[in-house]
Amino acid sequence: MNSLLRSAFVIGRRDFIATVYSKTFLLFLLGPLLIIGLSIVLGNATERMARDDLKARVAVIANEAEFAQIAAAHERLNPSFGQRELPELVRVEPDYVLDAQVRELLAAKDKRILGVLTGGLARPMLTGAVSETGAIRNQVALILNEAAQQGALARAGYRPVSLGFVKVDESAGSLASLRALTARMGQLLLFMLTVLLAGMLLSNLVEEKTNKVIEVLAASAPVDAIFMGKLFAMLAVSLVGVTVWAAGAILGLTFFPAGESLPEPAVGWPLFVLLVILYYSANYLLLGALFLGIGSQAASVREVQTLSMPVTVGQILVFMFASFAVGPFNSFLGIAAAVFPFSSPLAMIARAAQTSELWTHLAALAWQAAWVWLTIKLGASLFKSNVMKSGTPSISLLRPRRS
């Protein structure tokens, strides 16, 4: 066992250094950083544009007193709409020729007016390029109703209902839906990182086969050790990348803060982050071992390129299967996704977001580690048998039929 690990370490160290110290690794690091940076900057700019420029704007031709009533109603109702805010209201002093004023307002490019409200609360009329049954018309009607009703109630001496409020940290109903979002985001993060990074393992043995180093390696170490060394080297390379990208994302978010943070996962943020790292590693090793095994059978770079597409499709299918663990994670499909080795890491990170039980993670990590080992053994056995021409693989299920 010691010599197996030693050989794996020597092979892994060579691969790690060869990859990290290459010029192309800088491009590898910068690519996603560029995407993260652009997403943050463009996201912020887009949000500001949406807030400032693209927000629906309705001109209200009314005197100050009447507009104050309408604006007050707008203020009261607006928080109920959350992010989908009510249209912005802009008061315009009435002109002598109302129709001409309306036309002029709607045509003014600098003002970006969507509709013009005339007639005050008594005979309101909305003119604009909006749908007759759409949100803008309904929202303006709602504001006007609120303004009129509040005026009438105030005159009748009626005070609006004051709703008492006691805040609790969590409730079953709220948390389940909120944590499902964290679960989905966790899965998406793991999936995206693995799709980006694990594919490299498909072509990992092509170099050794092309320059004949494989013979030197195979004479000094078991093929299992070669596979293991290569797999862990590429995991280490990917973790270097992930660390750099995460640091870049944190730095970016410091300067350009995001709107809202994700709801806290059930196991708490520190443990969740640790589990993300562990499950990412497990997911990488599982799929990586599979890709290494598949790629090692390819005779050329062209064959590897041909394999890339079906392999990506396979990853998407696994991701879709794992999404059954978001929401009803204890359902049959949710548990099946957690048990099926290749979807297990994705399913389990969703579980970590939704339930605080910890023993399942220990069991899942042990289960996934066992499958990593089994996949390496299987890949190595097939490689030795088919590529090194050593004879039938030691796993009897895969014994090829002899003609």
Partner: protein, 314 residues
């Protein structure tokens, strides 16, 4: 000393239903230089790969330095494969140290030894040069150093002279002798009989996946009787009855095996018969002659043509 570095019994390996190695037995004593001779496709490389544990035999078993599982002895073995392979971007020093590290030599020790070996062999300027910038011969030297950097007890060389020019072949022969003197067992495959004849104490001649001969070089030669070359003034006479019946006559020169009775009765008969001896020589057969006799003329022709094409390449 005294034990066997390699022992193989009934090794059998088939590819796509065709036997590449068909029941090979080998016994390589510790501390010897052992040659595996045979034409291309004879099964030499497959045999060596099975001995090293790179591939498993379909039948038979082998022990390497006393281990049933050859890879358990990997730290005591150095192997130069027929198809040389190095990482092109690695420096010469790192490549040698990496091969040592694969065999359990600490990387830093390997780097120091590698720099020393390269410098001693006139390659000091190339220590930190990437393999891709070296000539083919230099790269082969680097790989050879990587094979022995960890001071193995057993060195396995598959066609080590292939692709080397005459000077480098000489250097390699010197290195093989030096390693043997230092106590290592060396087994190498070759299709160049001259190398085996100069270097080996024992040989195995393989043809068609089978061992045709296994033993000392002298024993292989002794399988043939010494050859007599005789030129006489007269071409015929009663003395002719003293020559073997199958003696060949080429332009008045007779070639035949030395009779079992020895040279003296033959000489007496020739002199008394008045043959007029102009030239008489007795030639001890070379390993090539023994190879032809053992493996067959076709195998020998194949060996010769492979050797010629290699010399052209070098």
């Amino acid at each position: 000393m005294g034990g066997l570095a390699i022992e193989a019994r009934g090794l059998f390996k088939a590819f796509d239903g065709k036997a590449a190695v068909d029941g090979i037995d080998l016994a390589v004593p510790e501390g010897t230089i052992y040659g595996v001779l045979g034409p291309n496709g004879a099964g030499k490389t497959t045999t060596l790969r099975m001995l090293l544990g790179i591939i498993d035999p379909d039948q038979g078993h082998r022990t390497l330095l006393g281990r049933e599982r050859p890879l358990e002895a990997a730290h005591l073995v150095g192997y130069l494969p027929e198809e040389r392979g190095l990482y092109p971007a690695m420096t010469a020093r790192d490549a040698i140290a990496f091969m040592g590290a694969l065999r359990g030599l600490p990387l830093e020790v390997g780097k120091k030894r590698a720099a020393g070996m390269l410098a001693e062999n006139g390659l000091g300027d190339y220590v930190d040069k990437p393999i891709k910038s070296l000539s083919k011969g230099m790269a082969q030297t680097v790989q050879l150093f990587g094979t022995i950097i960890h001071r193995p007890k057993l060195i396995v060389l598959d066609e080590p002279f292939s692709g080397l020019d005459a000077i480098n072949q000489g250097r390699l022969e010197h290195l093989i002798r030096a390693e043997a003197e230092a106590g290592a067992t060396i087994i190498f495959s070759t299709h160049v009989i001259a190398h085996a004849e100069r270097l080996c104490e024992r040989i195995a001649i393989i043809a068609g996946g089978k061992v045709r001969f296994e033993g000392r070089v002298a024993e292989a030669r002794d399988r043939l009787r010494p050859q007599v070359r005789l030129r006489t003034r007269l071409t015929d006479g009663p003395w002719r009855s003293a020559l073997p019946a199958d003696a060949a006559n080429e332009n008045g020169v007779f070639h035949f095996e030395l009779p079992q009775s020895g040279i003296e009765p033959l000489l007496k008969a020739l002199i008394e018969g008045g043959a007029g001896i102009e030239e008489l020589s007795i030639e001890r057969p070379g390993l090539h002659d023994a190879f032809v006799a053992i493996a067959g003329e076709a195998a020998a022709r194949e060996m010769r043509s492979a050797q010629e094409s290699e010399l052209e390449t070098a």
